[in-house]
Structures are given as structure tokens and as C-alpha cells.
Symmetry: C2
Subunit: 457 residues, 2 copies
């Protein structure tokens, strides 16, 4: 009788990424860096549960198709009495709920960062991730929020992305009021029409100005505003939309708009937008020239943005399509949960997708190496010397080094091969007649003292 | 017409904990410390998806009542073709699956740590957490795994817990082979009987020796082994079970068992257990006296342990009932996923429950203070000096300090009040005629230079 084992061969689950230890080590470094920058600006961390009540998540009523609900495998009658729970699809809704719930315990302006997993029940064949990390910062205040924060969140994210060593990064910033005011001044006042036009303008980089104008013309053939004057106005608008040189160019270009297009100069929303965007660009002057670009065509999809909006391009990683890091200002996000006026501004990195693209497409930028966090592998010369080897390891650990003690008194070349396979850079020999250390990147084996040795820099 | 807002007042979800920023700041310090210790011993990190295929999770077939399944809110016909997914209830099953799947890419012995959320669909009225963090270390090897790792994981966890400053910690260690061999030598060979007796013996600390023996007597009235000789044997066993003074006492006590109880000396499993436990205790000699206790009654609930088992008590926090940190050695955990023999040893901290109990019951041990990670709040003296204030903040950030710039040129006492409310320890005044800094814990306001200033230690 054969006693064959039943093997359940598992496969990876589409959309739920998982990394090898050496990839995870780099991912951890990214997270550590991001956290360090966030905290250096005084953002505190919060974490919220992975789930919210389904009613909380669907309060905005637009993304319910992508939601994962959870339930107990063996649910019973009692489960029906409880609220239905679902995995959060972003960190903004949970944050809004958190701020509303803990309103009296928080100090405002509330500056928080959040780096958690989010879930979206996308169809897996689209190649999208269904579980991924986001890294968000937001600032929420009561009643009003100074525009200086709109500049700060952009500065923070530039510093974050620039520090990941993924080439040059460019934040593209706009203020929705500019385009909204401009369109209003041309007789476009229906919010649905505004959204439709802005989504079309957004494509100008891809399809060009002529194509964009053709689409608008076609979409609004039968509308009640004056298409004959709108189209040339939009043409002028698109011509001045990209702002490469900060506030001065913004002022020149928008002065031109005000003089060249009838009605614009009288629109107060347009003026507010210019003033706010001007302030933001002014306060990002300390960044390198390529770091910030004003772009009057950027609008972002989400309905709740009311002023500043951000997108971010990796200038040296064309493989990454779309924006790495996006966000904007909102007037009152927690308003559905609390009777307060809580404006905010926030920006978010789609972490896992960014990491995955760089890892796969640009291994030259991301150096995946060691499989272990150990700096040193301690040789075990013999079973009798085990206590001494462990003592030496403890001394080195006490001085901040990560030390793995080899587990068996094998031949020394075998032990060294293990260190090499794991990518551990130093091997330590705790010999009775004097300790030695070897730099595995081609160094000599030299005498060393665990109490004083330092990695040469 | 009144335009009253519809408010959806959210409440916290039972079993899904969430902390305030000042609590989270301490929780982050705990995580950082734990990670630092794990890495200092060369454990690499992995993360697995939050979900596994339901078939993977239920392969062991015992915990299915506690599993949360997930599904898309708007599922369609296509969803039925995909494998059913469920949130993992521990990190051991996912690790076993991970090791099997990535077998060819891992270097063995594979030493990994994992600090993720796990989910259990417990009935919430039991006051249990349904989402919580676990911090696990495990070492997996091919074919055989040296016993030295059984000592190492205990040493790591002692260092972890001792460093959390939650009072004295005691690891209680046993080897299942000792009790199994002992019971076998007394004619108890049915695994179910062994489990039943060990679960009863486990209660000796709570209910006392007499009560324990009474229960065994009652449970096995009608069994086919010799109860008349088993009961006095168990009485002797319980007398020598707690080992306070390491290997020497272990040897004395078990020598006594072998001479006093007939049949024990001939049992080879018993001998193996003693030898292994002796080695483990020997290799933990560097720890303080209270740190490790041998305890021959410890067995742990899980079926898959085959040798060393661990429990951990907080000696100074009686409010924490049960074991803070538990684990053991297993013969072949990944065997259901791959045709290899992969023994391992692991130990796990039930992080969130520990943190929650200490936070609530022992605020004297856990110092919850600042609501912000900022070391310094930068005063904004006037709107004109904004650029200078931000420049100064950048200088200090470049030197490793976390600096929040106050957002508006308010009266200085108002700005200082904000720093005080957030618990930021230093306030910086970037005055034109010379910078000053104030230690908010009662220090004077003294001249300072952002390029050289240090927090006095």
C-alpha cells in the first residue's frame, strides 16, 4: 500500500501581489523613507480598520461596484443583526469617518499620514491590483484651511518621490477654479457640462489640440451655450495651459487670457483660482526647475475636489503610464458624518503599482540584492564554540549590527557559501586565537574586535 | 426651505480596534523595536496577501468557523469561476504556502518574520478582536532543522518583550516528547487520550494538582490502560514539572522520574524530549534568572507541534491572562502544498491584544504622550517671513529633526499653545535679529542656530 501525500498545489491569486524577501527588503526601504519624510513635516500616523460599515463606504455612492464585502464563512442568524462590513477601497473615506468620530480628541489642523492596504474588486483580467498599498497625507481643519498647506503637501511628495531614486519627478498642479471660472465666463454653467469638457481637455497631451476641440464641438452641437465663441476661447486656453516657469509665467498667461477672451476678466472664480495657484507655485520655488509645472488642463476625476489638484509624472520612467501621485483640495469631506465644516487637502501615492512597475521595468533604478537584513554572518567554528559565537554576535548586535549566527559547525567554505547566497556582506570568524572578518565583496580576511569594529565607509 | 444635511453618524465596529494618533505613535515604537530585534538576528521580512484561497486555509480543517470570506458586492457569473477567497486567520498557513510556492527562490534555513493583520470571525460579544496584528518569527529548513533554532527563537522573543518595558517577562518552555513519552510509558498511546490528559494537566496552575488528578480519574474510568498506576505516576510528574533552575534541575527532576516511575527509563521519546529541552535551556543561560522556566505541563493546543513548545507570561501584568507569545516546533507544515519535508520552529506575539491590555490597564507602563512625531514647531512670525521659516525648517529636517511649520502668522502665544496641545517638545523662533528656541518642558528661550543646534541629552 502506498501512502501518497495529497498535495494541494497553490497558485498566486491574480491581483494580490506578493514579493520575494529580496524584493520586500527594497519595499521596506521605500516605506521607511516615505514615513521618514512624512514625519519630518510633522504628519502623525493613523491606521484604520481594514473594514468599514458598507453604508459608510457607499455614502458617496459612486464606487460600489469595486467593493469587497466580508462575511463569516459559517454565518448564522445573529450575523444578520450586525451591519454589513466591507474592505475599504481608499484611505480617504476611512479618514473622514475617523476625523468625524474622534473630532474632540484631535488637534486641528489635523495632519495625518496613512500607509495601508486598500482593496478593489476589479476584474482581474484587466491586470489591475485588487490589493495594494497607498501612502496618503492629508490635512484637515475646521471651517477654513490655509492655502499654504496646498504647497506643503506638494513639497512633501516631491521630496518623497525624489528620494526613491526613480529618476526625475514632476508635479503638475492646477486649480479647478481657473478652468471652472473660465468655462462659466463662456456660458458653461451646468456641472455635468463642465465635467464633460474638462475630461476632454485632459486628453490634450495624448490626442492634440485639434482633436480635443473637435470632440467638444461634437459633444455640444445641440447645447444652449455659444459654441461659436467657446471653441476659439478654448483654443486660446489650451495654448497658455502649460506653465513651465512658475508664478511669473502663470500671471503672463492668465493676463493674456483675461484680455484675449471676452468675459474672463469679470469672473471672480477664475481670479480666485489664479491667486491660489500663484501662491502654491510661489511656495514651491525652492524645488528644482523640472519639479513643478502648472498645467491649466489638469482636473482629476473625483467630484469632491474644489481647488488645487495634483498629478505627478515620472519623467524618466515612460513605462509608468498615468499619475504616480495625485490629489487635491476638498471643501468638506467629513460632512456626511458630522455637522461641522471640515475642508482639507490631500495627496496619495499608489505605492504598490509604482513599486511593481519599477521593479519589473526598471531593474536598473531599483537595486534588488540581499535576501537578508543581516550585516554579518557569524561562523560557527565548532559545536564547543557555540556559546562564544553567540556571545560575539550579541556584542555586535548591541552595537547596532544585524548578525546571523550560522546554525551548524559545517566546513567553513559551506558556511561562507550560505552568507554569499543570502547576500550578507560580512563574515565573522570568532576563532579562539583571534577574531577575523571578511568583506564578501572581495575584501581580505583581517583581524577584528567585536567591541570596536566598524563597517568601513 | 431649510437645507438640513443628512448625517450618517458612524460608530466603531466591535472587534476592529482603532487608535488615536498618540496611541498609534506608541504602537509604532513597539513595531519598530520588534522589527529591529528580529532583523538583528537576521530574520528577513515577508508579507503575504490578506487573502488566501479558501481551500488553502481550510486544508487543516479545524478553524473554518472563524474564517471571513470576501466577495465582490456586485458579483456576476464570472466570479463563480474564480476560487473562493478568504482573509487569513494567522500567518503560519500563508507562510507555509509561500515557502512551498517559492521553494526554489528561497535560501534555507529560511528565517522570516511577519507582522501583519489577521482576521477571525469571532462572535463580537466575546470581547475578542476580529482584526489584529501578529508578530511571528519562523525558521524552516529542508529535511531537518537544528535544535539550536529552538533556543534562538526563544532568545529573540525574550529580547523583544523585555525591550517593550512591560515589566518582567517569563518564557515557559517544554518539549512535547517528554510528556508524550511519559504517557506512552504508562500505556497511554491513543493520540486523543494524550491530548485529553495534556489539556487537563495544563490546568494545574489554576485548579491545583488534586483537582487535575480527579478529572483524569473521572475521564478515564472506563479506559483500557491502568488508571491505578497512571494516577500516582502523574502525581509524581506534576511534582517535578516546574523547572526553575535550568538544565541541572531538569536533569535531577527527570532522573527522579525515571527512577521513581516504572517504564519511563525505557521510553526513547521521553529521552529525546529531555535532551532537546536540556539543549534549549542550556542555550538560554545568558538570560536573567526569571526569563526562562522549564514547565513539563505545557503542551499548547495546536495539533501540529511535535517538540519544543513555548508560552510566555508577563510576571508584572496579571491583567494579561493567558500567554503573550506562544509557539513551537512542527515537523512538516508545508507538506500539504509541496512534496518536500520541511520542518520548522516558530513563535508569535499576539500584538494587538497585548498592546490594548497594557494601554488600558497599565498606563503607568506605557507612556502615551505626544500627538505628533514633530520634535520642533517652527513659529511663523509674519506672512513676509514665511519663506525664511520654511528654509529654517528645511535646514533642521536635513539634520534629522521633524519640524512642523505653523500655518498662519498668528499671535505667538497662540502658536505656542498649538505646539503644547500636540505635545511638540521644542518651539523655534526664526526672528530676523536672531533665532531662538524654547524647550516646552519648562526651559528658557535661548539663542540657537539651525545649522548646529542639538537636543540636549
Amino acid at each position: 500500500m502506498s501512502t501518497e501525500k495529497r498535495i494541494y498545489k497553490p497558485k498566486s491569486i491574480a491581483g494580490f501581489p506578493e514579493w520575494l524577501p529580496e524584493e520586500r527588503l527594497v519595499e521596506q526601504k521605500w516605506f521607511d523613507h516615505i514615513r521618514r519624510v512624512f514625519e519630518s513635516y510633522g504628519f502623525c500616523n493613523i491606521e484604520t480598520p481594514s473594514v468599514e460599515e458598507l453604508d459608510v463606504l457607499t455614502a458617496k455612492g459612486e464606487v460600489d461596484k469595486e467593493i469587497y464585502v466580508i462575511e463569516r464563512l459559517h454565518k448564522d442568524e445573529n450575523d444578520k443583526k450586525e451591519a454589513r462590513l466591507a474592505l475599504h477601497f481608499d484611505q480617504t473615506v476611512p479618514m473622514a469617518r475617523y476625523v468625524a468620530m474622534n473630532f474632540n480628541d484631535l488637534v486641528f489642523p489635523f495632519k495625518r499620514y496613512q500607509m495601508q492596504r486598500v482593496w478593489r474588486g476589479e476584474r482581474p483580467q484587466m491586470g489591475r491590483m485588487r490589493e495594494f498599498y497607498q501612502c496618503d497625507i492629508d490635512i484637515i481643519n475646521v471651517d477654513s484651511l490655509p492655502i499654504s498647506f496646498d504647497a506643503e503637501v506638494a513639497a512633501v511628495m516631491y521630496e518623497v518621490l525624489e528620494g526613491l531614486n526613480i529618476g526625475r519627478v514632476q508635479l503638475r498642479i492646477n486649480n479647478r477654479k481657473i478652468l471652472m471660472g473660465f468655462l462659466q465666463s463662456q456660458g458653461v454653467t451646468d456641472p455635468d457640462d463642465i465635467i464633460k469638457i474638462t475630461r476632454t481637455l485632459d486628453k490634450v497631451e495624448k490626442i492634440g489640440e485639434d482633436e480635443v476641440l473637435k470632440i467638444v464641438e461634437n459633444d455640444f452641437k445641440d447645447s444652449d451655450f455659444n459654441l461659436a465663441s467657446l471653441l476659439p476661447a478654448l483654443e486660446i486656453y489650451l495654448d497658455v495651459a502649460p506653465i513651465y516657469n512658475g508664478t511669473e509665467e502663470l500671471m503672463e498667461n492668465t493676463d493674456f487670457l483675461r484680455s484675449a477672451v471676452k468675459g474672463v476678466n469679470e469672473n471672480i472664480v477664475f481670479h480666485h483660482g489664479i491667486k491660489e495657484l500663484g501662491f502654491v507655485l510661489d511656495n514651491l520655488k525652492h524645488l528644482p526647475k523640472h519639479a513643478v509645472k502648472g498645467d491649466l488642463t489638469i482636473f482629476r476625476g473625483l467630484d469632491y475636489y474644489t481647488g488645487t489638484v495634483y498629478e505627478t509624472q515620472l519623467l524618466d520612467v515612460p513605462e509608468f503610464t498615468g499619475s504616480v501621485c495625485s490629489g487635491g483640495r476638498y471643501d468638506d469631506l467629513a460632512g456626511s458624518y458630522i455637522n461641522k465644516h471640515l475642508p482639507g487637502v490631500g495627496i496619495s501615492i499608489g505605492f504598490s503599482r509604482l513599486f511593481d512597475v519599477i521593479k519589473q521595468k526598471r531593474p536598473d533604478l531599483i537595486k534588488i540584492g540581499a535576501k537578508s537584513p543581516a550585516h554579518i554572518m557569524m561562523v560557527l567554528p565548532s559545536e564547543e564554540e557555540r556559546a562564544h559565537a553567540h556571545d560575539t554576535a550579541r556584542t555586535l548586535r548591541g552595537r547596532g549590527y544585524n548578525v546571523e549566527v550560522y546554525h551548524a559547525a559545517r566546513k567553513i567554505p559551506d558556511q561562507m557559501k550560505y552568507a554569499s547566497k543570502k547576500g550578507i556582506p560580512f563574515v565573522w570568524f570568532p576563532f579562539k586565537d583571534g577574531h577575523q572578518v571578511k568583506d564578501m565583496n572581495g575584501g581580505d580576511q583581517i583581524p577584528a574586535d567585536a567591541a570596536t569594529w566598524e563597517i568601513a565607509t
